[in-house]
Symmetry: C2
Subunit: 420 residues, 2 copies
């Protein structure tokens, strides 16, 4: 089995200022390719430390992926340190320099000469393009081993890994060029240990299927991986394994593959030519923020209102003052009237509303922090559900927005539920 | 300076199933003690890999903190691997065994004999108590160096580190009681390289001050670190260095320390007893989402509206249809009327509005994607600024929300600007 080393570089890591997200990202990608990660090492922006780290990793692996320290500033020394460790000089790459200058011009950023540093590479290095940022990556070889270096910015690393590094490594290690296919199930409402327990007797290992669990608050992602000789074989195995997942966890699965909850909802609203208006209280705009992340959301989202005050609930949603006085701003009655009111006033097909107590204060014995009501009105009926969330303020907001979007999804899928 | 190595052990790390949180936690604690983390290494549950990792770290450091692999199951081999690497045999500790049995009885868990494994330690090891779990830690010494081992469960590590490991290390390295202090400056509107270039001649190194740049879209954070014998000396040095930062970058600094933009704005609104209402278009609710992350935001935030349609701008904000028809929904005129309208209808002291084109489509030659107008009305005057952002949809939303909150901050600080 091909062994890989991961090296993440930066004082922000060794001082604990930033938690390394790239190592896990890379480890997971290597695992999917059928390559084993032998060690993951983090060192600061120090020439000698980088050299020692490379020696340690190259002594135990066939290839190393390094991230970080490729920026323009004085503390970014990765390229120079690796060139020195390999006994290579640095040379300017004119096309990368042009790309960096071009990005600066496009973004109307002030050019400073230290940016040219990002076009310096060890002689003989292969450039790994950075489609979204200024710091390109590169790969150098020594004694049949390969070191690939990409930026530490997670968004850039996430893209350069599959587009640049993995294709390079697959050419390098052709004997491992199996067909690899993954299948992702996105779940909500079950803790990781419960997902694990539910899958314990599914026998996926005997099917030759690898299973990974990835918590991604408030979601849990379950990823099946098939490594086979042909694409057909992989699809067949994933189909069989996927059926066992659906059997055990079906009602908690809301999405497959890379699609986000908001993207599915947006697609279904567009398909059904339905418009929507949203009334938020404790989620503070997070629902419309997620919906408007979808390009073209103006086609279905008419308006959102964040009615933090009772006056706003009365003025913008027509919730009678008496209902708030009798049942409280956080109640099923208010949630229903918010959904109906925003729908009526916006003239949309649907009205979605959330009211709740995000915390840390504001809770009572009858309605503790985390109490949330979600309501959905379509002009004929109004659904309402109650939730008791148990997180901190930010995560209560995130989980409440998730439950609201899920209620909308279930409604659009014809799978309605009501307990309010 | 005392150098520390961190070793995290577990297949869940090298396969990317779990993101290592312990390394950053430990690194931060070491940093606070004035000890430098030379390297952080993760390996799987493998005897040889653990041995190699220990050798690498002990060759470069005075002490190693290892976590993970102390549980009862067959794949937990850390204790045996470290004993083997140090040439020590294992012995049962009766008091730990009694503690583990006691925990099982208290929690009414079924006792299985593999749990006794957690009371096995290398001969001569010092036990590090685990007040909350079954797996105790331990420390062993070799040639003046020390290796401390604690469980990988973050909640247990978080407690055993300050209660067990650090007191042990402080006895070991009494001479290192340095004082360490940091000072953080949060910047917006300057690329990382420009920050670096501006600071190039500040001579902070000659003051004995360390400088780090940490991009955190859309912000850049600059962190100064002083390591001195006394707190007074650290404060004095940071004061001098901070003055040089302010001199060079002052107008781009919007916050100091850990405070967030929304927290500062919330504090200033509360201090001035000012209420606010927000009208958002392209930011889709992100401004109110950030404001409502602050506990108690209902005291100053009366409402938010996400007026995605022209109809909503007319109905909820009173923007005249003719203005939208003449100048467009994305214009300084519309932004001003949105801010004035939301303020008037909400009856608040301030009205904040954003309209723009987040992309990827919807741009024109005159108003390309990224065109954003931010307006702030206080009843006497209405400020308006135009921005040309150059990111993707999500980042345009984030940057637009940031510019709006910054405009509000500058207004509240009495530092007003208007170009619309």
């Amino acid at each position: 089995m091909v062994k890989i080393g991961i090296l993440t570089i930066g004082n922000e890591l060794t001082t604990g200022r930033i938690q390394d997200a790239n190592s896990a990202l890379i480890a997971r990608a290597m695992q999917e390719q059928g390559w084993a990660v032998a060690a993951m090492l983090s060192v600061g922006d120090d020439d000698g430390d980088i050299h020692n780290a490379l020696d340690f990793l190259l002594g135990r692996t066939e290839a190393v992926i390094a991230t970080g320290g490729l920026g323009p500033t004085a503390d970014d020394i990765t390229t120079a340190a690796i060139a020195k460790a390999f006994g290579l000089s640095l040379r300017m790459d004119d096309s990368v320099l042009a790309h960096v200058r071009d990005l600066f011009a496009k973004r109307r950023l002030l050019w400073t000469d230290n940016n040219a540093k990002q076009a310096l590479f060890p002689e003989g290095a292969e450039i790994i393009a950075n489609p979204t940022g200024t710091a390109a990556g590169f790969a150098v070889r020594r004694e049949g081993k390969i070191v690939a270096v990409i930026p530490g910015v997670p968004a850039e690393a996430r893209r350069m890994l599959p587009e640049g590094v993995i294709p390079l490594f697959r050419k390098e290690f052709p004997e491992t060029a199996l067909h690899i296919e993954t299948s992702t199930f996105k779940l909500f409402g079950l803790p990781e240990a419960a997902v694990d327990a539910a899958m314990a007797d599914a026998g996926l290992a005997s099917l030759g299927i690898g299973v990974g669990f990835y918590p991604n608050f408030p979601e849990n992602h379950l990823v099946l991986t098939a490594r086979t000789a042909t694409p057909e074989e992989a699809s067949e195995k994933l189909l069989a394994a996927g059926a066992r997942v659906e059997e055990r966890l079906g009602k908690h699965i809301f999405a497959h593959g890379q699609e986000t909850l908001e993207a599915i909802v947006a697609r279904m609203l567009s398909e059904k030519r339905l418009s929507i208006a949203v009334a938020e209280s404790c989620t503070g705009g997070l629902i419309t923020d997620r919906l408007t992340d979808i390009p073209g959301s103006s086609a279905f989202l008419e308006r959102g209102v964040v009615t933090y005050s009772n006056e706003a609930k009365i003025a913008l949603l027509g919730v009678p003052e008496a209902v708030i006085a009798t049942h409280g701003a956080v109640s099923a009655e208010t949630a229903r009237l918010m959904a109906e009111g925003v729908r009526r006033l916006a003239g949309t097909g649907l009205g979605l509303a959330v009211t709740g107590i995000a915390g840390p204060s504001g809770g009572t014995e009858a309605k503790p922090v985390g109490t949330v009501y979600v309501a959905l009105a379509d002009g004929e009926k109004t659904l309402c559900r109650h939730y008791a969330l148990r997180w901190d303020r930010r995560r209560n907001k995130i989980a409440a927005a998730q439950t609201a979007l899920l209620m909308l999804l279930r409604y659009l899928a014809g799978d309605v539920g009501d307990d309010g």
